[in-house]
C-alpha cells in the first residue's frame, strides 16, 4: 500500500476544498456531471400503482424527447417542509406537488402555466370543478396544474350496516344513528380528531353541511364563534361518545384506513385508498367495502377534497422542459393510463374525465366522479388564502373539537379557536 505523506494529504485536501468552494460559489456542477434532467417531487401515493405508472410515463417521456425525467416521493405530511426548503434555498426540483392552499402560499415563486392549461382546455373543455380552480387559478393565472383530487366519500362495511338494520348514511344524522348501533356490536365508526390532514378535511365537510363557517366571505372577519359551529361541535361530541372509540384522537392519515381494513371499524370518511389497498392485496374484506356519497346536513351536501397538482418553480433551470413534461403527462393517452393506475383515486380537474372507464369498471367506484360537484376549498365561502393554509397546518379545527371532547365547554373551545385564528389573521399580510 502506498503511504500518503502529510504533505500529500494537505495538498489533496486543499485541492479538493478549492474545487468544492468553486462549485458552491458558481453554483455550477462540473461539466462531466451535467446532464439535462427534469425532476419532480411528489407525495408517496396512497395507491402505490399510481407512482409506478408515473415512473413508467417518465421513462417514456425520456425515450420520446431525449430529456431525462425523475420523480422523487416523500410522505404527504413532509411535502410542505420540502417546499419550504427548496423555495428558501432556490434550489431543488423543477416541478413540485402542491395541495390545497400550498399553491397560494408559493404563488410568487411559481411560473404561470396558463399556456399549458389553455392547450389542454382545447382538448378537455373548460368545465372545471370550481374548487380546483379556486385552489390553483391564483390572481388571474394558473400556477398549478391540478392532477389529482380524490373524492372523499363515505367508506363502509356493508355487512356491519346490514347487521344493525341500517343502510349507507345519507346524512350526518343518519351516521350518528347508525354509529350508535354499530359501536354497540363492536364496530365503531371513525373520523380523525388529530394532527393529520384527514382531520380538517372531514371537519370542513361537516361544518359546511351544518351551515357553519370559520370566517365570513371576506376571509378576515372571524365567524367561528356561532350557534351553527356549536351545533357541529355538539355533533362531534355525541359521535365521539356514542359511535367512535378514543383511537381517533391519535390516528394519522392511515389510521382510519387500517381500522376499516382490519374489520374493526365499520365506516370512515376517506378517499378510495382503503378499498384500492384491499383489492391490490386481495384482502377478503374488499368484497364487504362499499362507498356512498359524502353525507349531507341541514345546509346541504358539501365536502372538502384535497386538490393536488404540479407547479414549476421560477428558479428552475428547465422551465420549458418542465412544461413539456406536463404536456406529456396530461396528453390523453398518458393521462388515461395514469387515472387507471390510481384505481379510482386520481381525478383531474376537468369534468371531461368523468367518462374515464375506471369509474364504470367497478360499481363501487361509479359515484366517485360525481362527488366533485359538492367540493369546496377550505375557507369557503371565503377565497383561499395563507390564513386557511395556516389554520389547517396548525390543526386548529380538530384541536378545537378535541378540547371540547376533553371536557372544555363548547363555548370556550370556540373562543380558543377564535383566538388562535385571530393571531393568524393579524399576522398575515395578503
Amino acid at each position: 500500500m502506498n503511504r500518503v505523506t502529510r504533505r500529500q494529504f494537505m495538498a489533496h485536501t486543499a485541492a479538493g476544498a478549492t474545487g468544492l468552494t468553486g462549485i458552491l460559489l458558481t453554483r455550477t456542477a462540473p461539466a462531466f456531471a451535467q446532464k439535462r434532467e427534469v425532476t419532480m417531487l411528489g407525495w408517496s401515493h396512497f395507491v402505490p400503482e399510481s407512482d409506478k405508472k408515473l415512473a413508467e410515463l417518465l421513462a417514456r417521456f425520456t425515450k420520446e424527447t431525449g430529456v431525462a425525467a425523475r420523480s422523487d416521493h416523500v410522505p404527504n405530511v413532509q411535502l410542505a417542509a420540502k417546499q419550504a426548503a427548496e423555495v428558501q434555498t432556490k434550489a431543488g426540483h423543477d416541478l413540485m406537488l402542491f395541495y390545497n392552499e400550498q399553491g397560494w402560499r408559493h404563488r410568487d415563486n411559481l411560473v404561470d402555466v396558463d399556456d399549458v392549461v389553455g392547450e389542454l382546455n382545447k382538448k378537455y373543455g373548460t368545465d372545471i370543478y370550481p374548487f380546483c380552480k379556486d385552489a390553483f387559478f391564483i390572481k388571474g393565472h394558473w400556477k398549478v396544474l391540478e392532477s389529482i383530487w380524490p373524492a372523499v366519500a363515505g367508506t363502509y362495511l356493508q355487512s356491519k350496516f346490514r347487521q344493525v338494520g341500517e343502510g349507507p348514511p345519507d346524512t350526518w344524522a343518519d351516521l350518528l344513528r347508525a354509529g350508535k348501533k354499530l359501536k354497540k356490536i363492536g364496530h365503531p365508526v371513525g373520523i380523525q380528531i388529530s394532527h393529520c390532514i384527514d382531520a380538517p378535511t372531514t371537519f370542513w365537510s361537516i361544518a359546511w353541511c351544518y351551515g357553519a363557517k370559520v370566517t365570513e366571505a371576506d376571509g378576515k372577519t372571524i365567524a367561528i364563534n356561532s350557534s351553527k359551529m356549536a351545533e357541529v361541535i355538539e355533533y362531534y361530541k355525541e359521535l365521539y361518545a356514542d359511535a367512535m372509540e378514543p383511537d381517533v384522537l391519535s390516528w394519522d392519515d392511515s389510521g382510519n384506513n387500517r381500522c376499516l381494513n382490519s374489520g374493526h371499524c365499520s365506516w370512515i370518511h376517506n378517499p378510495v385508498s382503503p378499498y384500492a389497498a384491499a383489492m391490490a392485496k386481495k384482502l377478503p374484506i374488499a368484497d364487504d367495502i362499499n362507498h356512498h356519497s359524502s353525507p349531507a346536513g341541514p345546509a346541504g351536501r358539501f365536502v372538502a377534497p384535497n386538490a393536488r397538482g404540479y407547479g414549476i418553480w421560477k428558479f428552475s433551470k428547465n422551465i420549458d422542459a418542465a412544461k413539456d413534461l406536463l404536456r406529456f403527462l396530461f396528453r390523453e393517452d398518458n393521462l388515461t393510463e395514469w387515472i387507471q393506475a390510481g384505481a379510482g383515486f386520481n381525478h383531474p380537474m376537468w369534468r371531461y374525465w368523468e367518462k374515464h372507464p375506471v369509474w364504470n369498471s367497478d360499481p363501487k367506484l361509479r359515484l366517485l366522479p360525481g362527488e366533485g360537484v359538492y367540493g369546496r376549498m377550505r375557507g369557503w365561502p371565503a377565497p383561499p388564502s395563507d390564513i386557511f393554509g395556516a389554520i389547517d397546518d396548525l390543526y386548529i379545527l380538530p384541536d378545537m373539537v378535541a378540547k371540547a371532547i376533553g371536557g372544555m365547554s363548547t363555548k370556550d373551545a370556540m373562543a380558543w379557536a377564535a383566538d388562535q385564528i385571530k393571531r393568524i389573521v393579524d399576522s398575515t399580510r395578503s
Binding site: 504533505r7 405530511v77 378514543p246 391519535s250 384541536d399 388562535q420 393571531r423
Partner: protein
Amino acid sequence: MGRIGQVLQREGILGHLLVLPALLLLAGLVAYPFAIALWLSLTDSIVGRAGHFIWLTNFVSLFTSDEIFRQALRNSFVFTGTAVAVKTALGLCLALLLAQNLRMKRLIRGAVLLPWVIPTALSTLGWWWMFDSLYSVINWSLIHMGLIHERLQWLGTPHLAMSAVITVNIWRGLPFYAITILAGLMAINPELYEAAESDGAGAWGRFWHVTLPLLRPVLAVVILFSTILTFADFNIVYVLTRGGPINSTHLFATLAYQVGLQAGRIGEGSAIALVMFPALAAIVYFQLHYARKEV
C-alpha cells in the same frame, strides 16, 4: 524542502491550518444558519417571501398571546426534566451494574448500546406500533395479565402520550448515560475504595463518599449534553404524536417545524426555535464552569 514545506514545518501555522477546515465547517453549517434563523425570527417572513423587520414582536407575541406556545414551553420542561432525571438515576444504576465482573461482559455492554445506535426515526416507528391504538402489544400484554380491561390510548390521551414520548426518550438516551458513567467509574483509582473499606465504609458509604464525588465532573457533562439534546428532541415526538393530542406533546422543535415549515410562517417558527437559546447558553456556561472547577 520547498518554501511551502518550510512554512508547514512551523507548528503555529500548521496548527491553524489543521483547525481551519473544522472552523469553516462550523461557520458554514452552524454559525451561518444560526445567523439566518436569528434574522428570520425578527421578521414576519412567510416561506419564499421577504418579510418585514418587526423587532421582537414574534417573541413578545409568543409569550403574551400564543396559548399553544405556552403549552409547548410547559411540555418541554416536563419532558426534559422527567427524562433527564430518570436517565440520570437509571444510567447510574446501569453503569454500576455493568462495572461488575459479569459473564459475557463485553457482549452485554455492546447490547446496552443498541438503542443509541439504531436510527431514532426507525426505532421510534417500532415504538409507534407498540403504542398503536388497535395493535398495541403493550395493551395486549396488560390485558392478558389482567392488569387492565380496556385498551389504553397511549397516543390519544394527553398524559399517556406524554408518558409514551418520555419513555421512548429514556429508552434511547439511557445507553449514552450508562456508557459515559461507566467510563468515569473505570477511571476511579481502586485504592480509594480499599482505603475507604479499611476505614470501615460499607457499600453505600463507598458509593456516597468515593464514587459519587469522583463522578461529579462526568455527570455534569453528561447531564449538560442530555439536557440540550432532550430539549431539542424532534424525531420521537414527530413520529409518535406530531405534537398531539391537542398539542399536549409539542416541544420547541416540533412546534417550530409545524409553524415554520409546515404552515410556512418561518419568522414565527424561527422565534420558537430560538426562544430557549439564551437559557440553554446560560446552562452550558454554568455547567461547564462547574465541571472545570471540579476537575
